[in-house]
């Protein structure tokens, strides 16, 4: 019996025996979090996965600029979590309110707790509504940001529809870094597309807190071709930074003067979603420093941060990046849980923007860890060519639509 007991102890020692499968909690059900939960469940190893997301459905930001322009229904932006549940992912409809990295436990707003072996945090962004004096939560009801898709998108659309012909639309764009770097300029393009067709005497002014922007020459080429005289871009150096707003009169003040808008879209500065700071994984910049191989927080071991909230070096804050990071992170987490050493990943980003419904442009990049950061692979990536034919632009618009359909199918379908 004694011999048998010793044998039993020896047999019980390896972690693979008798214990429940490891548990990974994923916080946040956007492109990053939902992709990670699904990738973990599908990569083969026996891992229990819980997705913590308070909303019953996700509203996708990519293509929400087309909703603003009346080219697409907001309903086409909604995605649910039934596919996750079918995959065997436990979907918990609650918000994480606190994360104890050392105890490997998170607290939910319904009062319950959740233990985890590793946590993947994908909180997206928080909009710093109070960073612009005069704005705030009440200002956003009058001068919508529409930078988290949903009701804000619908509100901005209604305002554009209600505006008289000849009105001034102002888009205030933030400094880097922020979610979707080409987004404000795609938005300007598609709003201009709507104005040109329905309110041709109107103007669109972009007040920018920076001196250059993503795909700039491509956008400027498109604006000249498609909307001559309609869009004016004011850079930081020329007084583009909005220092104050007055919601009652829809007035935007810059260092050089003020502009009264008929419709104002104020996109405020951003930081990682609030739970990141609560968990101690955000640094003084408001974003989350990570290991470039495993996406594990540099501040709190056991917590991995992916998507817009992460400081991902040269990778932009995009849905494509979030999805690619999620899959690489899921593989690294599975390897770590099995006691292995994750290999260096290679990541891809491809971002399409529409300058018009049949006019697409893109930026692509390939990334790998270098000196602790995700750096661009030299010689790869870049933007669509200037002076391309209408056929090329039309095909990129078609690729954009196919991309959205494919990625939302992979993540939520």
């Amino acid at each position: 019996m004694a011999g048998l007991a010793t044998g039993a102890a020896a047999l019980a020692a390896p972690r693979v025996l008798a214990q429940a499968p490891p548990h990974v909690a994923v916080v946040g059900g956007g492109f990053a979090g939902a992709s990670a939960a699904r990738a973990l469940k599908r990569q083969g190893a026996d891992i229990r996965v819980t997705l913590v997301e308070p909303k019953a459905r996700y509203t996708a930001c990519p293509f929400s600029n087309a909703v603003l322009a009346g080219l697409r229904d907001l309903d086409a932006q909604y995605f649910g979590y039934d596919g996750m549940k079918r995959d065997g992912i436990d979907v918990v409809a609650a918000s994480a309110t606190a994360i104890d990295a050392e105890a490997r436990r998170l607290r939910l707003d319904d009062g319950s707790g959740l233990a985890f072996d590793r946590l993947i945090l994908a909180p997206g962004i928080d909009l710093m509504l109070d960073a612009i004096p005069g704005y705030g939560a009440s200002g956003a009801e009058v001068m919508p940001h529409a930078w988290q898709a949903g009701e804000q998108t619908a509100l901005l659309r209604r305002q554009l529809e209600a505006m008289d012909d000849g009105g001034l639309v102002v888009i205030a764009a933030p400094a880097n870094p922020f979610r979707c770097p080409p987004g404000p300029y795609e938005r300007a393009s598609l709003v201009a597309h709507y104005l040109k067709a329905h309110k041709p005497r109107s103007k669109l002014l972009i007040l920018d807190a920076k001196d250059s922007f993503s795909k700039q020459r491509l956008f400027e080429e498109a604006w000249e071709q498609l909307y001559p005289g309609l869009i004016e871009w004011v850079s930081l150096s020329f007084g583009g930074r909005v220092t104050e707003v007055d919601a009652a009169t829809k007035t935007l003040t810059t260092e050089f003067g003020s502009h009264q808008a008929a419709v104002a879209n104020v996109i405020p500065p951003q930081r990682a979603g609030a739970i990141a700071a609560a968990a101690g994984v955000a640094d003084r910049t408001g974003w989350c420093p990570i290991d470039s191989v495993t996406f594990e927080s540099r501040l709190r071991p056991g917590i991995h941060v992916i998507g817009d909230a992460a400081i991902a070096g040269a990778m932009p804050k995009s849905a494509f990046s979030a999805n690619a990071q999620a899959k690489a992170c899921a593989a690294a987490v599975a390897t770590l849980l099995a006691g292995g050493q994750p290999a260096a990943p290679k990541l891809i980003n491809t971002c399409y923007s529409l300058a018009a419904p049949d006019y697409g442009i893109s930026i692509a990049g390939v990334y790998e860890p270098r000196e602790g950061l995700l750096a661009e692979v030299a010689g790869a990536g870049g933007v669509s060519p200037l002076d391309a034919s209408a056929d090329v632009r039309a095909s990129e618009a078609a690729y954009a639509e196919a991309w959205f359909d494919t990625i939302t199918g992979e993540v939520f379908g």
Partner: protein, 105 residues
């Protein structure tokens, strides 16, 4: 009592054997291969069976995918984004990705 315990140990022993077998290189050939660097990003655009103008990759032989990557990289095959993406991968990396995709479901 002793018999029950013995059975439990037997089950434990069998589970251990199963775990060791699953971890052996022999079994790994049938398990999903670990994805080589970059491979999982492809499905961001390429649905298994394709989607509209974007071709699917499922069921394609590894050589076809690797050759396409090489042709995109050296400009022989016209493209909108694949030329820019292929330049980020060596022949060896592209081949590993192609083999992983070809071995997939």
């Amino acid at each position: 009592m002793a018999t029950t315990r013995h059975r439990r140990l037997m089950r434990g022993g069998l589970a251990l054997l199963a775990a060791l077998w699953a971890a052996s290189p022999h079994a790994a050939q049938r398990a999903p291969l670990p994805a080589p660097a970059g491979a999982t990003a492809c499905s961001g655009c390429h649905a298994p069976a394709g989607n509209g103008p974007v071709p699917g990759l499922a069921g394609r032989p590894a050589a076809e995918i690797a050759d396409a990557m090489a042709a995109f990289r050296n400009g022989e095959r016209p493209a909108t984004v694949m030329d820019r993406i292929a330049k980020g991968f060596s022949d060896e990396e592209a081949r590993a990705i192609a083999e992983w995709i070809a071995a997939g479901p």
